[in-house]
Symmetry: C2
Subunit: 226 residues, 2 copies
């Protein structure tokens, strides 16, 4: 697939078909993940591919409990007041609810871990991070490569972080060493939802020229090259 | 370009040609950045495109000072002892040194910011982050899209975070609001270095099946689909 077609149609897929995912596609997607940059070229990533049905079901149960707890918190504190009127919000939340109820049967879970033992001076040696930006810059670009590569081979994904709410149980289930921080959990499977173009804020809302608040006018007329 | 060709040949470019970068390419690359996912679909990103020669020169001076200070620290504490024998290290460090000396004249700097005011409950409202993983998951995938899209249109980039060492001065130069965290600085220009395939740890070193330490043997023989 053309690169820009992949980027412009990669979107969160939260409903999946039960069809099994071939190992060859998992390999292709993980190989793409490892092409990402990392601080010091240390490649401080580790991936646990969960295919075992019992493990996935247990992760799904833990995730659903965390989802319901988070939903109660969001409702009680009106935590999403800033976005809940946005056009995407209702659809997104229905999808996220469907994911929480169906995660246990998504064919593959990929737990994307950051290995603090490979961060050198970026980690503080006591489980913390001296430079969180540099640390997460050494795992989240790999995750994005994974999401894009999945889209390129026809597999759906969505970037989730809710497992942090049940991290001790997840660590126990997967036998994660202390140095591995499970940053993202990616459900992976053939999509029941459709891929398709995403709607985004216009560039004029998010791009500034030279100094904050200065409009980059020529971005809006891209045929006028500098 | 084909998606997998882009992913497999995207690599850090640290030496640049002086040729100007057309606005249309900047727009294309930033549009790709905004296609990334974000927590709550809030798109909490903001980009400052620095084209002004005086600003770039000043950022370059600050960066070089930070680079030299960091180099002294690394040497004094042998902070890279875990990676300095790796085959990539010498070449990478020579490139990073060339970047530090040449950054001021790279045609475009893109400062990629995370807007804490758009993070809802993920930010703590006092400049900190309640869920750093979720927060950085809402800007670093966009940065990776930017790096890949640049490669797709023939522009070089590298993901840098050293500006955090002179963040107050950078904020002042660019007039960044308090809520904007400048997470990554991406130099952008036509490459003097070459694109090309990257060398990475083999998948068997970084992928586990179901539980940590269990080899995912079928990844090594991807023709044997499940």
């Amino acid at each position: 697939m053309d690169f820009f077609d992949v980027v412009s149609t990669q979107r969160a897929i939260r409903r999946f078909l039960p069809d099994p995912v071939p190992d060859a596609l998992v390999a292709r997607v993980l190989d793409a993940a490892t092409r990402a940059p990392s601080a010091r070229g240390a490649e401080p990533w580790a991936f646990v591919v969960v295919r075992d049905a019992g493990l996935r079901a247990e992760i799904g149960r833990l995730y659903l409990t965390a989802w319901e707890t988070a939903g109660q918190f969001t409702e009680a504190t009106d935590a999403d007041r800033d976005v809940k009127a946005a056009p995407h919000y209702g659809r997104m939340m229905r999808g996220a609810d469907a994911l929480a109820r169906g995660l246990g049967t998504v064919p593959v879970h990929v737990v994307c871990g950051l290995d603090h033992a490979r961060l050198g001076p970026i980690a503080d040696g006591a489980g913390g991070l001296r430079s969180p930006g540099a640390a997460y810059s050494s795992i989240l670009p790999a995750v994005q490569n994974l999401l894009l590569a999945a889209r390129a081979v026809g597999l759906g994904t969505t970037l989730t972080t809710l497992h942090r709410a049940f991290e001790p149980a997840l660590r126990e289930l997967l036998g994660l060493p202390d140095t591995i921080e499970p940053v993202v959990l990616v459900p992976l499977g053939f999509p029941r939802d459709r891929f398709g173009a995403t709607r985004r804020r216009p560039l004029s809302d998010v791009v500034h020229l030279d100094r904050w608040g200065t409009r980059y006018a020529r971005l809006d007329a891209p045929e006028g090259d500098s």
